[in-house]
């Protein structure tokens, strides 16, 4: 669902922004309440000092790593499960049993195993990204039109070749959707993981934007900073999704 950013679209956000600013002005002078103008100022500072870009960079690094691990594992297993009845029947209960467990619930476990560092965060991201990827891969393989495969067989294409040239391209759109979803969930999870790590390790974690947000809350009470981070989180999420859409159009122009 694309938003139509006609002129009317800006009406509500602008009104809300103005109301927010007015509310801020009405607050007592000492209050740490975040206000649009302060937020803007904070944003400039944080970007200029390099803190914000660094934090985002760190978070994205972890997301990419976790996503990659999840993708390799999920897509390979997914292809197997989609193609071979036997694998699907036996592995599916396991996948379905772990799926309802929210990734973040495993964070304490991850911290126990890996410490409050990057590995724990990457683990959570990988776990979170795993499920959309595998489910969409399986679905993508399963819904390959049997007739298309038959057509290929009647042209004398060998079994392995079929996997390469028919099944994977047919499943690609679905896998891509899974990847897009997984990326979105991964980004959300990294923020949550970093925040939780920051919360429980007394600020001793290793950076990232979630961490930064929590530090602003707990230690320097810079609420404007928090809002800046929130906006940054949102913007990055949009950019990630945009990248995927562009990639999708490049790699699979035939699918929509």
């Amino acid at each position: 669902m694309r938003a139509r950013f006609g002129l009317k679209g800006f009406l509500l956000p602008c009104v809300l922004l103005i109301v927010w600013q007015l509310w801020g002005i009405a607050q007592p002078a000492q209050s740490a309440a975040p206000v649009p103008t302060h937020v803007f100022e904070s944003a400039r500072q944080l970007i200029a000092s390099g803190d914000l870009p660094l934090a985002i960079f760190q978070s994205i690094q972890r997301v990419l790593l976790g996503f990659l691990i999840a993708a390799i594992v999920a897509i390979s297993i997914g292809l197997l499960m989609g193609h071979f009845r036997f694998a699907d029947r036996n592995l599916d209960p396991i996948v379905e049993s772990f799926r309802p467990v929210a990734p973040i619930a495993l964070l304490p476990l991850a911290i126990l195993w890996f410490g409050t560092g990057t590995p724990a965060a990457v683990f959570i991201v990988a776990y979170a990204a795993f499920f959309p990827l595998i489910i969409n891969t399986i679905f993508g393989v399963k819904q390959v039109d049997g007739l298309v495969i038959q057509a290929a067989r009647t042209m004398g294409v060998g079994r392995f070749r079929i996997l390469q040239t028919v099944i994977i391209p047919s499943a690609l759109p679905s896998i891509f959707v899974g990847a897009r979803l997984a990326m979105g969930i991964a980004w959300t999870s990294i923020v949550a993981a970093e925040m939780a790590v920051g919360a429980k390790s007394g600020g001793g974690g290793t950076g990232g934007i979630g961490q930064m947000m929590f530090i602003f809350y707990a230690y320097s009470v810079k609420l404007d900073g928090i809002v800046v981070c929130m906006i940054a989180v949102g913007i990055v999420a949009l950019l990630i999704d945009l990248c995927f859409r562009i990639l999708q159009r490049k790699v699979m122009p035939w699918a929509h």
């Binding site: 509500l12 956000p13 309802p100 929210a102 619930a105 964070l107 928090i226 989180v233 949102g234 949009l238």
Partner: protein, 278 residues
Amino acid sequence: MRARMAKQAPILGATDAHLTERILRRISPIVVYLRSMAVVLIVWQLIHLRVGNPILLPSPLAVAESLYQLTRDGEILEHSFISLRRLAIGFGLAGLLGIPLGLFMGFSRLAQELIDPMIEVLRPISGIAWIPIALFIFGIGDELPIFIIFYGAFFPVVLNTIAGVRTVDPLLVRAAQTMGVTHRVIVSQVIFPAALPNILVGTRLGAGAAWMSLVAAELIGAPSGLGFSVQWYRQLLMTSKVLAFIVVIGILGYLTDRSLRLLQQRLTPWAVDTGGAR
């Protein structure tokens, strides 16, 4: 049941074969499930023995024992209840506000053009990113998880409701029009039932998001509940209890999804199940 079957099919051979076939069909998925889980448990046990550190990875038996203990103590029930209560309130609010808003935006192009950009701006900022600000506003307590849950569930509900209204088969609307019914009837008797499958999908997705938000919020900013318990026992290095709570979270999450799926089937038996990752 045997007696009933015998009455229906006088030929004894047919009855027996029919019965066994039905039992097998019923049991088969359960067997497969148990078999796979058994493999998981065995692998788990093996890794546990290899690792040798009960704090790092307790054996499945230890976890089972903790589960039993905690249930008996009532702790699991207590925290489950707290968490579920928050979930219900947050999710309920999301539905109560989200569905009407979605319907409104679905019907009115103008409403959609005005409100949608706001939604598209807020949506990428996940509920979890709101936790610090929410902590500032609400402090540690019940309201925080409820707010985060509401936020997380709100968007899937609204967006899917809008989609539901928008993708009503125009043919159905036309059919109703050629029967001379009023616009009001078309909205309530045609568009709403036709949109219901999508609305229910939205609630299922919302529930999934709600669970994630619940656990995150409780981990970080609540003094009670399942998420809190996981964190609490981790700090006490009582890993088997940590795992026990994780299992409970998984089970409750599964039950939530299952019941919504059942609701979906009950209310909209004609709709194709779009279950899966989304």
